[in-house]
Symmetry: C2
Subunit: 356 residues, 2 copies
Amino acid sequence: MSHRRYNPLLDEWVIVSTNRLQRPWQGAQEASSNAASTNGVASQTQTKNPLAPGGQRANGTVTPNYTNTYVFPNDFPIFCSDKDAPKSEVKTDEEDENDGLFYKETSYGTNRVICYHPDSKKAIVNLSVEEIQLVVKEFMRQVTELKLEHDWVQIFENKGQMVGCSNPHPHCQLWASKYLPNGPATKNRTQKNYYEKHGKVMLLEYLNKELKKKERIVVTNQYWTVLVPYWAYWPYEVMVLPNRHILRLDEITEEESLALSDIIKKLLIKYDNVFKCEFPYTMGWLGAPTGKYLNEDCSHWMLHAVYYPPLVRSATVKKFMGGYEMVCESQRDFVPELAAEILRNQPDVHYLDEGE
Amino acid sequence: MSHRRYNPLLDEWVIVSTNRLQRPWQGAQEASSNAASTNGVASQTQTKNPLAPGGQRANGTVTPNYTNTYVFPNDFPIFCSDKDAPKSEVKTDEEDENDGLFYKETSYGTNRVICYHPDSKKAIVNLSVEEIQLVVKEFMRQVTELKLEHDWVQIFENKGQMVGCSNPHPHCQLWASKYLPNGPATKNRTQKNYYEKHGKVMLLEYLNKELKKKERIVVTNQYWTVLVPYWAYWPYEVMVLPNRHILRLDEITEEESLALSDIIKKLLIKYDNVFKCEFPYTMGWLGAPTGKYLNEDCSHWMLHAVYYPPLVRSATVKKFMGGYEMVCESQRDFVPELAAEILRNQPDVHYLDEGE
Ligand SMILES: O=P(O)(O)O[C@H]1O[C@H](CO)[C@@H](O)[C@H](O)[C@H]1O
Ligand SMILES: O=P(O)(O)O[C@H]1O[C@H](CO)[C@@H](O)[C@H](O)[C@H]1O
């Protein structure tokens, strides 16, 4: 059974899934460290990608001829299905000594795949603003549907083999859990503390200061701003923020969703232009917690998206989270202000469309 | 100037170095995501590795003809040198509003490279137990030398291109700082809390329970134990623990250092045998803090080393820390008990030495 285990040394949790090694891997194949040569691109034996119309999924289902977005349950789920949940779940300590050394709980939730577009060869940057808006609206619909039953609805994308994407079709994932995971729990605590201490919404306050300072702004429009955070770790990390106080994705208006799609496209064009390649990244949306938190005051929260791209020197040299980062502290190799400047100065036309 | 910036959303710090993009890169070159083919191995234009005897470092120094270990200052230091430190350093908030949104401090410290052996073709697994013991003693000597002036002395190794090693010569690094970094600060807090609450040393208590349970033990000898922690994230993650309560590396006895070298060699042979390759990993040693903490009671601490190897399915498919891991929570694909069993059952003879 999938579960979470408590790490008493770091005071955080790790999810232990048990069926995930079976999933098909069309992702990165690294050169073996004893130097067996490989070109880094997985062999594609299938004729039809299971995420594309007409493709067949691991459970036998044939993917329908969808035209814009398409959502289906992950065939290799990370969480246990709600249906298996007992009425009242108790956390268990294997030793019953309550010292947290062997502490676990079952992890219930919902895992879905969100296809952006039927064409396997397209990435989100190649979609029109209107097509991207359909994706944004799909995100909003998913949050609306899942928020009552889940404390946290995580939408995230691993774009590119370099960040562990296991299927090249344009898609992202949704993992919604019955509990607040580590990262969101921390962000809930810090924003709450700030709100109690200063009487202001941390990220709104932060955004307004950044809009005045300007040096870390990448692109901004009437409703949204993309900036490199003062504390960015990844070389070209950015945060996407609404210009007004929004708590969750499902509060976005029609106009705002169009403006968001436009700014996402602008950002992704800039990304691709930096090293003239399909810029890899991991992306995630973080809004106020849901489920039982819907009954609490969450006005300390501000919706935001993060993009963490690994490239640092060129299209082929990435920043590694090495030993120091893993045991001690993150370390970046150049200042965030320079990253913002490089991104800001990228043309708004995709390098492949130049001269068209 | 190198400094640390505070991340108010995660309540942790990030080091911002400014001169690190200049360092030579003999590390991994990834296949470009627009499919330019590369074999993943960097071209080696130099005739002599700067870390090997007779090689020339970036600052012009020629590396002497050393015979076992050799330590020198990192030519691309992460921290500012102590010599530049003002008498009393104050943390600064750019806005002087004390709301932690633009908060930084200069990061002072010492960065060194520790070469294990003169032969660039050898890894630590290829050294004799006696040669490994010289490395362990070098670690001990470094801690003894640096502990008075630094709050934290981090020894860590990035082994293999897959984890960001930028030079193939057998070596590790030492980054010693004038402050306690994020990870160690958390481990200091959790171990202290446990000690206050239960009157016992967390990791000693944990070790003793694991020795009884046995299912997560990889290898053990009179003085040391290697186990897969109950809460392991990386597929074949292990922790190395002394069997008695030791706070810091410099407390290890002669006999213990020999036994440690033996168990490290055993572990690394097992690692290489799992997928019959040079198993990549990142490794770090964590003991009680030093510097000003030498005046405090640190008996809640237990010295330990961690090994985080990324491989999951084969010599060429690694576990990715994807979007969910980065924004939410770590997730592993199979249970730690299985990892321990696989490691335990590996032969103690290196696969390349079989039949000798
Ligand atoms: O200093 P090196 O070995 O060139 O660099 C390596 O280790 C550092 C510390 O873990 C990381 O920040 C780098 O990303 C990695 O490539
Ligand atoms: O589920 P996928 O896309 O196959 O898997 C990918 O995303 C997951 C969530 O970030 C990671 O745990 C995996 O390491 C990564 O390969």
